[in-house]
């Protein structure tokens, strides 16, 4: 196994372990969140973002790591995001949690995984068509809020923290 494969495997084991401990892998939690009844996955995910945001901004500010924004291609993000949302609700897993759910014994995730591999093959077949249509509408490129708004990320981060912490208090108050 090469160094990059080994590093990926170790990182993945830790990631899968923490997602399982957070109980975010299973169908009930994923669909429970979309039914607005159980916010566990959003508590988990937003906590990860709050912490990760600070560390990554520090490291990229110091020139130690480079940011990797995904392109703001309007049609792709809007239509692709909508398709993902629809499929997510029925499947009850996302790509990362499906394999984890299989790991904790929820074997119906296997059908979701087979579906997603099939979807990926289908996307590869349809890529030339999408390239000339939905992907070609309007692309703002790889942009971040700090550059777009011309302000320091250290102004945006406290705002994001304040909003998210308020949301957490609301979740707890409502028992979600």
């Amino acid at each position: 196994m090469s160094a990059d494969q080994m590093l990926g495997l170790v990182t993945g084991i830790l990631f899968g372990f923490l997602m399982q401990k957070g109980r975010v892998l299973r169908f009930e939690k994923q669909v429970g969140a979309l039914l607005l009844k159980d916010m566990t996955i959003f508590k988990f995910m937003l906590s990860a973002i709050l912490v990760g945001m600070v560390g990554i901004t520090l490291l990229s500010g110091a020139g130690i790591v480079t940011l990797s924004h995904k392109p703001m291609n309007v049609g792709a993000v809007l239509l692709g995001g909508a398709l993902f949302g629809a499929g997510w609700a029925v499947m009850g897993f996302c790509p990362g949690t499906s394999v984890g759910a299989l790991g904790e014994g929820r074997w119906h995730a296997l059908f979701a995984i087979v579906g997603m591999v099939t979807g990926a093959a289908l996307y590869a077949e349809l890529y030339p068509f999408f390239s000339s249509t939905v992907l070609a509408w309007k692309n703002f490129g790889k942009i971040g809020f700090a550059e777009v708004l011309s302000i320091s990320p250290w102004v945006l981060i406290p705002v994001f923290w304040a909003g998210t912490i308020s949301l957490f208090f609301w979740f707890e108050k409502k028992g979600l």
Binding site: G16, L18, L34, K43, I56, K70, G81, G96
Partner: protein
């Protein structure tokens, strides 16, 4: 605030915050050891898996495909990360006795009954639609939701708003009505 949840899991804020630490360490480690900053993600791996499988029956078709060529069909860092998620979840659930064989989850059963065939069809078709969407949007709740939002990427906030709003609407339509 409790350290353990009712289902014997870890507090989701704590487990999530630890994933935040993992995300930071992972970006640092990939930059230092592999020379390129890599962020947590999962959905590109499904493209590579599709390419590897398709290659066994139609190698020329895979070689000629523009998208497979762009995403590079190989077992890379992220591919092993996705396999690692399976192992990590297996280790965690086997050691805290939360590993449970489940073919039809309760919310699904309440709406569609205990048929494995129906659940398999829903999971399979949902998986196709979700993956076409994730590849079009260039990310899933890991790549956009976690990694992109951490970096304050514009596309990731928009993508996640779409994932969530359409997910909520479709979940209400699909599971909202009770089976009689």
């Amino acid at each position: 605030m409790k350290w353990k949840t009712l289902d014997n899991g870890w507090n989701p804020y704590l487990a999530g915050a630890l994933v935040g630490v993992l995300a930071i360490v992972s970006v640092y480690a990939t930059t230092q050891l592999l020379g390129k900053s890599s962020y947590l993600g999962a959905s590109t791996t499904f493209v590579r898996a599709a390419g590897l499988l398709e290659r066994t029956v139609a190698p020329d078709r895979v070689a000629a495909n523009e998208y497979f060529t762009k995403e590079k069909v190989r077992v890379d860092w992220q591919f092993m990360l996705v396999l690692g998620i399976f192992l990590g979840a297996l280790i965690s659930s086997a050691t805290d006795r939360s590993l449970k064989l489940e073919g039809v989850p309760p919310i699904w059963k309440e709406r569609f009954g205990s048929s494995i065939g129906k659940r398999a069809t829903g999971a399979f078709l949902g998986g196709i639609v979700a993956m076409v969407g994730a590849r079009m949007a260039d990310g899933c709740p890991s790549g956009h939701g976690l990694s992109g939002m951490m970096q304050l990427s514009v596309s990731s906030f928009v993508a996640f708003a779409m994932f969530f709003s359409v997910g909520v609407a479709v979940a209400a339509l699909v599971y909202g009505r009770r089976s009689s």
